[in-house]
Amino acid sequence: MNKLDKQFGEMMKGIRIDAPSSDFTVKVMSRIQAEAAVQQRHLLQDYQPVISKKTWIILFIAFVLLMVYITVSGTEPASGTGTGFWSAISGSVDKLRMEEVSSIWQKGMGIFSSVPSIAYLILTASLALWTLDSFLARFKHQASELHVN
């Protein structure tokens, strides 16, 4: 920048800078808030659950089939003398000497004790995924509301 340019630059600092209306920021920000709300709505509409409906149906059918198979395959219900988790629970119920309750309990437990542990694993994993999926969906929704406000 030469001397003349510099002098001209100093002089130019005196030019008038116009200002928009006093509520300019408010107007712009209200348009931006509306824009953000629209963007957020699209984000929620585009949200894909971790597990799709199709997968849930397949999982459910697989579980039902497994249960049917176990029931039809003729496995005798355990009478409380078996080993394992459910047997341990039924054993402890016996100790309470509640004969009627314990007989109903044992019947119920007998069915469960015949179910292989893999079925419990599938059920637990599915429930865990479903809980995580619902939590993520709710968290995303809450986060979007916070950002818009």
Partner: protein
Amino acid sequence: MNKTEDQYYIDAVRKGNVQAFSYLVEKYQKLVYTLALKLLKKPEDAEEMAQDTFIKAYQKIDTYEGKSKFSTWLYSITYNGCISELRKRRIEFKSLDDRQISDQDEQKMHDYYRETKKEDQEKYLNLALERLPEDDQVLVTLYYYENQSMDEISLISGLTVSNVKIKIHRARKKMHELLHEMLHEEIYSLL
């Protein structure tokens, strides 16, 4: 420091803090509006263009890479928006050579001169600036008032750096000429 401050708010907006954008609106609204007014002339058009500029900037904030100043990026949105608007209206800029100072304008300048003499050079300065072609007014404002470099102005306007240099040089010469006409020898006592 300025860039860091801007970057802080830009990052906040990107993370979803919409309200952080109001800092950038407050900071740059005058210059954005001034540039739009110089090109579009009507205050209501300039205000609408300034609003649209900030909305576009918000929508495209993820595309701002930080290679240039945020102001440079913002002014380029303003400039391009105004040029598109003027193209729609089929208004073309006249070059300095095409433009003739009308007798009416000259009389206005003399009136100002008689009224204010040395006391109000700002009026002469703004009057001289207004006599320049619209795009030259923007280039001169960006270069001398906003201290944007030739490279940055090239980014904003889409003109080559050498073209920007030539245009600013010619605009400065023209403004001197106009001021000389208005103030005769008095302007040179100021410099």
